[in-house]
């Protein structure tokens, strides 16, 4: 099991290639990062290799939760009108010192302003270099939301917003808001090679970048100047291993300590392995079936509810998720604040469903069920799910045909308001805020886009809009609870499942926490 590590360790010891006592943690990552500038990308694989290791943000999600806590900013306050958010920065945060950069000063307000300017100011050289292609920043409408950013003093920054926006602070804990060093990027500009910021990152995070061998491995070392103290491990290596089966073999052979995204079918076997701990947690996600509420007969809530009652969701959890998930009754996961546990789900009852369809005057209904062509964290096998639905619907006299398209096409066509049929899709949360689910996926703004049910229901939308403007979380939670009641009555989706996330790690690894938002961070992780 540990033979390979041992042999390599002995060889290294004899040859002096690596300090022998150094603790090295190997993470078998699932893919190559697109680059190391987290503001440019949207993929979790890229964030793991950049923002989660090298960078910090003003605020962060408390490890293992979606709760926002201080990071580079030690505190913040929001003005009464919700239009100004002022952050007070720590004064002990240093950027990393590496072979390619030595900072002359600590982090200050200039770096924070620079981080956002480069994503929103058309005159900033990095904005020009990327052609403004900061897709996460853009898709969160941050450019429209931020009116200006002011430097109050060296360690105080004020964001002035165009409108009150409660999720704003949580948004700043997201990867795209990782704080860059103005000094480093200016230095690269002066040297005429600004593109290196995307290849040799400098941040303030727990690990500093050492080098990257394309498609093979990324090497980091613990940042000795990290403001929360040096990490227990000395080196962190991302061994890029795209095949899940091979990752599992490497984990068993001791060639890596942690692996993400196991094959669901391997999980039981992993649990039996004495060398492996399988961590698991409810994912911050939802899988759903979205009807097109703009098309008859799916424009009638009673028809949608009848179809929901015809589908046996528990059977889907058992057969498709192999138990690694739970039936969803709300559009947000149960671990999220604002979740309304009093909601009664539409119970599986084919007889009543049949009756309700007849009462609604629906006979010999033919419909399409769209099955995604890819596996996603919230949906292991959409085709199989669609087949189970097809069989359930046949029992109530509905003739369902399964359709699918290439993933990009699927996403595009499913957004069309004239789309025929119901779409299987899902969502993984970005920032732990209910607005990130209900606002994005069910708000009127999303019709023709991320709102696949094309559902614009004013009473629901008003609650969502109002919740966005309040800063008191308790008040907001009440509004979201009401919104979930409306959602259940109107049934624009059949809420299918919240999947479970598995993380197999070797027994000697301690301190690893599953990130409900799907990221992989090694801060505080140790090897016994």
């Amino acid at each position: 099991m540990k033979k390979t590590l041992l042999a390599a360790g002995i060889a290294a010891m004899m040859l002096g290639a690596t300090p022998v006592m150094a603790k090295t943690l190997v993470y078998c990552s699932e893919g190559s990062p697109e680059g190391f500038d987290p503001s440019l990308y949207t993929a979790g694989t890229t964030f793991d290799a950049s923002s989660k290791t090298v960078y910090n943000r003003l605020v962060q999600f408390k490890p293992g939760t979606t709760e926002v806590e201080p990071a580079i900013a030690k505190s913040w306050e929001i003005s009464d009108d919700g239009l100004e958010v002022t952050f007070h920065l720590r004064d002990d945060v240093k950027f990393q010192t590496t072979d390619f950069f030595t900072p002359s000063r600590k982090l200050n307000a200039d770096d924070v302003i620079w981080t956002f300017e480069r994503q929103m100011d058309e005159n900033n050289p990095y904005y020009k270099l990327a052609n403004g292609s900061f897709e996460y920043f853009n898709s969160m409408s941050m450019g429209e939301l931020i009116k200006s950013i002011e430097k109050v003093d060296d360690h105080t920054v004020k964001f002035v917003l165009t409108k009150p926006n409660a999720p704003f602070v949580a948004n700043l804990a997201m990867d795209f808001a990782s704080i860059h060093s103005k000094e480093y990027e200016q230095q690269l500009l002066d040297e005429g090679k600004p593109e290196l910021a995307n290849q040799q990152p400098i941040g303030t995070g727990p690990f500093q970048f050492v080098n990257y061998r394309e498609d093979a491995a990324i090497r980091y070392q613990a940042n000795p100047d990290y403001f929360r103290g040096k990490q227990p491990i000395d080196n962190l290596v991302f061994a890029i291993t795209s095949d899940a089966q091979v990752r599992y073999q490497k984990l068993m052979a001791g060639e890596c300590h942690v692996m993400p995204f196991p094959n669901p079918s391997d999980v039981e076997e992993m649990k039996q392995n004495d060398d492996i701990n399988v961590l698991q947690e409810a994912g911050l996600n939802v899988a759903y079936l979205a009807y097109n509420t703009q098309q008859a007969p799916f424009d009638k809530p009673e028809v949608r509810k009848a179809l929901n009652m015809a589908i046996n969701k528990q059977a889907i959890i058992d057969a498709v998720f192999q138990g690694a998930g739970e039936v969803a009754k709300n559009p947000i996961p149960p671990t999220m604040w604002g979740y309304n546990d009093d909601i009664q789900d539409d119970q599986y009852d084919p007889e009543q469903a049949k009756q309700m369809l007849a009462d609604a005057g629906v006979e010999n209904l033919k419909m399409n069920i769209w099955a995604m062509p890819v596996q996603r964290p919230y949906m292991p096998n959409a085709r199989r799910t669609a087949e189970l639905m097809q069989s359930d619907l046949a029992k109530v006299g509905v003739d369902a045909e399964i359709v699918t398209y290439e993933w990009g096409e699927y996403l595009k066509r499913s957004s069309d308001t004239k789309r025929e049929g119901a779409v299987i899709l899902g969502w993984t949360g970005d920032n732990g805020d209910p607005d990130n689910f209900m606002g994005v996926l069910l708000g009127c703004d999303g019709v023709g886009g991320a709102n696949r049910s094309q559902w614009c229901h004013q009473p629901f939308d008003e609650l969502i809009q109002k919740a966005r403007t309040l800063s008191d979380q308790g008040e907001r939670a009440k509004l979201y609870e009401q919104a979930q009641e409306i959602f259940k009555e109107q049934a624009p989706w059949d809420t299918l499942a919240h999947s479970t996330v598995f993380m197999p790690i070797r027994k000697e690894v301690t301190g690893y926490k599953i990130d409900p938002l799907g990221g992989h961070s090694f801060e505080g992780v140790d090897i016994k």
């Binding site: 390979t4 360790g9 290639a17 897709e135 089966q245």
Partner: protein
């Protein structure tokens, strides 16, 4: 001979143009769109979509895009990756040595085992050894690479612990890239441990990638040997009382090798194709894995550039084989 070379070279031009058209069309014929894939479930506004499309030059007609591609190609510029924004040529060249190193080891494995196996099978025609060699080579030829790779990993890496599961070198070594060949670079660095680690990591992928060429070479060697063994001059050699070893190694094998060498040359295309799967299984950072990633991300410039470069390499190798054949057998030149 020079005329023969020029004719062969001229024949490459239409082939190469054909390759550029196929490479350009291939990725565009696949359904999917790099911008939509990048946006994911979140989606993208129509305005932003149009903006990005224009930035990437996809709003222009396909003919205009093709001629841009061709123009860049003639200047040695294959454009920039849509994902990493780095030049495609640089990305390809930084990964190609890994594929070449793996392919050369796989070919060496195939030749070192396949050639003697074919000779033995021919000499022992109809005997158990012949049936065994041919049976095994047929199995090897029919083996799905993906399955074969995983099987070897499970046996030799997980169960026996003899070989590493995947990768190119142990994570303990970070060798500066000089030639891009890990075995050579580790020797240049004077790091014997790294060299052994690189060799250790080559064993399984080279066996997996070399299995099909091995089968082809063994079968081809056997059939050429049998053909030559039936020739009059072999009978004459035996009649002269030459030793069996001398008859086989000098009179038979040397003549049989002509067609075997051609087959070995043709394996280059097969090796590059096989590398795509092998590299995926063994997390080998070569062009195969890079192409797979580029295709799944619909990174048009990387896919079309990568295809053209791979096709170009195969064409050059085939040209060299043709020329070598012309040198060996002057009748071919006419």
């Amino acid at each position: 001979m020079f005329k023969f070379f020029l004719v062969k070279l001229a024949q490459l031009v239409p082939t190469f143009i054909g390759v550029t058209i196929v490479a350009f069309a291939f990725i565009r014929l696949l359904p999917g769109d790099p911008i939509l894939l990048m946006a994911g479930e979140r989606g993208i506004s129509a305005e932003r979509y149009a903006e990005l499309k224009a930035q990437m030059g996809f709003d222009r007609s396909l003919v205009a895009q093709y001629f841009d591609f061709l123009k860049g190609l003639l200047h040695g510029d294959l454009g920039n990756s849509l994902v990493t924004h780095s030049p495609v040529m640089d990305e390809f060249m930084s990964r190609f040595p890994a594929t070449l190193e793996l392919s050369l080891f796989a070919l060496a494995f195939a030749v070192i085992i396949g050639l003697p196996a074919g000779v033995l099978a021919a000499v022992k025609r109809g005997k158990t050894l012949d049936h065994t060699v041919m049976g095994v080579s047929l199995t090897g030829y029919s083996m799905p690479i993906f399955w074969w790779g995983l099987l070897l990993i499970m046996l030799f890496s997980s169960t026996l612990g003899w070989t590493p599961v995947s990768g190119r070198i142990s994570f303990l070594y970070f060798i500066d890239s000089v030639t891009g060949f890990m075995t050579i670079d580790s020797l240049i660095a004077g790091d014997w441990g790294a060299f052994l680690s690189a060799l250790h990591h080559l064993v399984l992928p080279a066996i997996v990638l070399g299995t099909i060429p091995l089968a082809v070479i063994a079968r081809q060697t056997r059939s050429s040997m049998l053909e030559v063994l039936g020739e009059d001059y072999v009978r004459t050699a035996r009649a002269k009382g030459l030793s069996n070893f001398r008859v086989i190694m000098v009179h038979t094998l040397r003549n049989a090798l002509i067609s075997v060498v051609t087959v070995i040359g043709l394996q280059v295309g097969l090796l590059l194709a096989g590398a795509i799967l092998t590299e995926t299984i063994f997390s080998w950072p070569g062009i195969g894995k890079w192409m797979i990633d580029a295709i799944s991300r619909r990174d048009y410039p990387s896919v079309q550039g990568g295809l053209v470069l791979i096709a170009f390499i195969v064409m050059i190798v085939n040209l060299l084989v043709d020329i070598a054949y012309g040198v060996i057998n002057p009748r071919i030149r006419h």
